[in-house]
């Protein structure tokens, strides 16, 4: 290292909370040196959804392979690393345990600090690869397992201000996808169909009148299913693109409305959109339109290729946690129902 040359800080990160095994090497919290993702989606397609025991079994097949590829692609050695970060929750317990066990071994074997990362903080920090996060900020997190609004007063601080009372938005997409006979996972397909159709069914928008930041999608899901079943009974053929568009518009309206409410109540510099469903074009368009109403707030959308689960985002969030002195010891366990604190 030459005089005045800054040492680069490298985080090795593990993610295995659901059906992707991923290992990444991240430099200074914002540069991806490698981000190896092994997805099991083909396997779970056989069953129409993620089977936890099958997911756990695939993780153990993949974990050292992903580690090997991540280190090789990043062209680094263990001596170059500053810390090892790992998702310890929320997620499927058996799946999380594989990543946690592997990360603990690497940290211990190479004398590196172990940084526990909340998967949802990881999703938020996927946006860090687009640009810097400015505080205070609000994040709208939308995925297969979660739908929540998170307030970040400052770096490494996460507080929930609202969340779904029932289904996550992504879950609702998968369920109506099944009703339409679409292959799992159906989110992308419905998004594309929605763009070919129009909002003609006027499905309900839940909890719009309530004075909170919570969401609900089960009423919408039921209305959708009833509409389809009723049409089947009377032998009426419905336009599936219009069905998709109507469903999606209802989801987007609720998400955008509650986000708008949050932006009015909290003074923030940025709105961050992240999570698996953040790749949804309808939602991205809806938030673009919303942010146009606010001159002082910047909309920061997680890059499309980092919206799904990956270890790069865990490395970015882990870097911030590490800088703030967080670490875990070798007794770190998976916490399947890990949650941020409520405000």
């Amino acid at each position: 290292m030459g005089n005045g040359e800054k040492k680069r800080e490298l985080i090795l990160a593990f993610e295995s909370s659901c059906d992707e095994t991923s290992v990444a090497v991240i430099e200074d919290g914002n540069k991806i040196l490698s981000n190896v993702v092994a997805t099991q989606v083909k396997s779970h397609k056989r069953f129409g959804g993620v089977v936890p025991e099958v997911a756990s079994r695939h993780h153990i097949e993949q974990v050292t392979l992903c580690l090997a590829d991540a280190m090789e692609e990043a062209k680094v050695t263990y001596n170059d690393l500053s810390a090892v970060a790992v998702t310890y929750g929320p997620g499927l317990v058996g799946a999380l345990l594989v990543g946690v066990a592997s990360a603990k071994v690497v940290a211990y074997a190479h004398n590196l600090p172990l940084i526990p990362v909340n998967h949802m903080a990881g999703h938020i920090y996927a946006a860090r690869f687009k640009s810097e996060i400015k505080f205070p900020a609000i994040a709208l997190l939308v995925s297969g397992g979660h739908t929540e609004l998170v307030y970040m007063a400052r770096e490494n601080s996460y507080q929930i201000i609202g969340e779904t009372r029932d289904d996550a938005a992504g879950e609702a997409y998968d369920k109506i996808g099944r009703v339409l006979g679409l292959k799992y996972p159906a989110g992308k397909n419905i998004d594309e169909m929605a763009h070919e159709g129009a909002d003609t069914f006027a499905f309900p928008r839940a909890m719009m009148k309530e004075e909170n930041f919570d969401f609900s999608f089960s009423g919408l899901k039921s209305a959708f299913i009833n509409t389809v079943h009723h049409a089947e009974q009377v032998n009426e053929k419905l336009n599936v693109n219009d069905l998709a568009a109507s469903f999606q518009q209802s989801v987007v309206d609720v998400l955008v409305y509650k986000t708008e409410r949050a932006l009015n109540d909290f003074s923030v510099k940025q709105l961050i959109l992240a999570g698996g469903v953040a790749a949804n074009q309808g939602l991205r368009d809806g938030l673009d339109e919303l942010i146009g109403k606010y001159s002082g707030i910047e909309l920061l959308k997680a890059p499309l290729n980092l919206c799904g689960d990956n270890a790069a985002m865990i490395g970015a969030a882990g870097f911030v946690a590490w800088k703030n002195g967080e670490s875990a010891d070798l007794s770190l366990n998976a916490d399947p129902s890990l949650e941020f604190e409520w405000i």
Binding site: T21, V36, V37, A38, T39, Q40, V41, K42, S43, R46, F47, V51, E53, V54, S56, R57, H58, I60, E61, Q62, V63, T64, L65, L67, A68, D69, Y78, V93, G94, L97, V98, V100, A101, S102, K104, V105, V106, Y108, A109, H110, D329, L330, S331, N333, A334
Partner: protein, 240 residues
């Protein structure tokens, strides 16, 4: 050769450090509520007590199954990651064979058993010949009644493991004309020292492809296979 042996395949957690066939240190606990929490601190502690560094371990030996799926995954993930990240050897040994290993009976078939619930067991059968364990009935997931049928060819039987006592009545009734013994006390539980000894004698395996021997498909997979006879050759997991 320095060996670290790890068995987390059931409720018992057992680890041992060996220098060739000699025991350096071992710890076995039946109070580990959660192997995920206790395994790594126990390994670190044991090494510290004997003033060894993890980098001095040449071979990681792990009980590869059958057993509790979660327990197996914690042990196997830990062992395979150690072997990979430190460029050392990895060996997997049957969790049932580990139970059979300390039983010193000749001309007797040794049957380690784990309860697999609903009258099913994980079991295998072993014979001690020339001081080696020979597997005579492969480890499998099997209804207890079927196992006992298979054992009717043998005259002297030695059942091993804490779970074997649960089935003692049934075994004695079905195999009433045989000479039957059951393990007692410390022989009821796996001891990683024996795991290490067995691991010393085996060839190292390919680290990346090493997975637990669950000996049982998941329910989702077996149901899917019933409906989809044609074999699925495509890879189910893809790098993206």
């Amino acid at each position: 050769m320095n060996i670290l042996a790890i068995d987390t395949s059931n409720e018992t957690l057992s680890i041992a450090i060996l220098k060739n066939k000699n025991l350096v240190a071992t710890i076995t606990t039946n109070q580990s509520k959660n192997h995920s929490v206790t395994l790594m601190p126990q390994i670190a502690n044991l090494l510290k007590q004997v003033n060894m560094s993890i980098t001095e371990i040449d071979r990681f030996v792990v009980a590869k199954g059958p057993g509790s799926y979660t327990g197996l995954r914690i042990g196997v993930t830990t062992a395979k990651t150690f072997a990979y990240t430190l460029s050392k050897e990895l060996v997997g040994v049957s969790s049932l064979a580990v139970l059979a290993a300390p039983i010193n009976e000749v001309n007797t078939v040794i049957i380690p058993i784990f309860d697999a619930r609903r009258d099913n067991v994980f079991a295998g059968a072993y014979l001690r010949e020339n001081n080696q364990l020979k597997n005579v009935i492969v480890d499998q997931h099997i209804p207890l009644e079927k196992l006992l049928e298979k054992l009717s060819d043998y005259k002297r039987l030695f059942f091993v493991g804490v779970d074997s006592h649960k089935f003692a009545e049934r075994i004695k009734i079905v195999l009433k004309d045989k000479e039957i013994q059951f393990s007692a006390n410390e022989l009821d539980y796996p001891q990683a020292y024996y795991l290490g000894i067995m691991g010393l004698a085996q060839e190292p395996v390919d680290i990346h492809s090493f997975v637990p021997k669950y000996l049982r498909l998941t329910q989702a997979e077996s149901q899917w296979l019933e409906k989809n006879q044609e074999s699925n050759d495509e890879s189910l997991v893809e790098k993206i």
